[in-house]
Symmetry: C2
Subunit: 172 residues, 2 copies
């Protein structure tokens, strides 16, 4: 994992997105954006859901459902799996988070609001995940779909490899 496993502090150069972040403000901004979105859509941004999103943003990495459950329990919420799964399902359904199929884990959306067909780069060394955009329907896959009459509704695009930080470590 990352060198600095201290949530909430000194994350300024956190390599996880492969870039630097002003973490504290990106959290509050994302939460506020989610809240606003829920308001306009008539969705309920309840305490568990808010807390789950905060946790994902704070960790800034892919979190398993049971890790999420631990955090939620610490925060005083229910401690049974469905509590975490329901909150995560809500976040994913509304574009505030994504599920990384390869890891069976969840991560806060890095581009909330943006039109979404996300792609992920997963470091097999440090497990860090970076989010990018993709348009898989416009490549060979799209051609195949059109040729067979398959209707694409959603895509999972996940690249596994080595992030720059781990590559550097290996060189040294």
């Amino acid at each position: 994992m990352t060198s600095t496993a201290r949530p909430g502090k000194d994350v300024a150069t956190d390599p996880i997105g492969f870039e630097a972040h002003d973490h504290a403000s990106c959290i509050s901004a994302a939460v506020a954006a989610a809240e606003a979105h829920c308001q306009t859509e008539g969705l309920r941004f309840t305490p568990v859901r808010r807390k789950a999103l905060e946790i994902l943003l704070q960790e800034h990495r892919a979190l398993g459902a049971y890790e999420m459950l631990d955090r939620l329990r610490e925060a005083g919420f229910g401690s049974q799996p469905p509590v975490a799964y329901r909150a995560l399902e809500f976040l994913v359904a509304n574009g505030f988070a994504h599920k990384i199929e390869r890891l069976n884990a969840f991560i806060a959306c890095a581009h909330p609001g943006a039109s979404h067909s996300p792609a992920f780069m997963i470091c097999r060394r440090c497990q860090s995940v970076a989010e990018a955009q993709s348009s898989p329907a416009r490549g060979a896959l799209g051609d195949a779909a059109r040729a067979t009459g398959f209707t694409i509704e959603r895509t999972v695009v996940e690249a596994e490899g080595v992030c720059p930080a781990c590559a550097d470590k290996a060189d040294a």
Copy 2:
């Protein structure tokens, strides 16, 4: 050997999977091809591995590891999870099968021998899976990887949607 699935020949770009098959012969052909490949590569195409591949080919759909385990047990092999997982791992490692991350399930490779960066189309109604080719490293994802210094080693590309057969059913 059959009309549609000739391993080793250049069917590589056919998005097969939502089409008719001469099943019996496509199974034996694929098994024979796998056997030949193992021979030349010095790999051991043991009874469990052969049976596992036959099962995948026969079912012609994505099979969970425990379903596979059930079939293997019926066929007189060991009945503990590692038996199935090891056989599946061998098949995947050698390109005879693929794992569908979205389903946590395994399917026989539709283009054995072809250079492999597979993409899948998964019907959310009937769970059928078709295999196509993809080159995700050449699109937006590849650009993002180069921009950040991420080295792509492997990609998972899975599209979820509705297959032509199920779409027809819905129309009717």
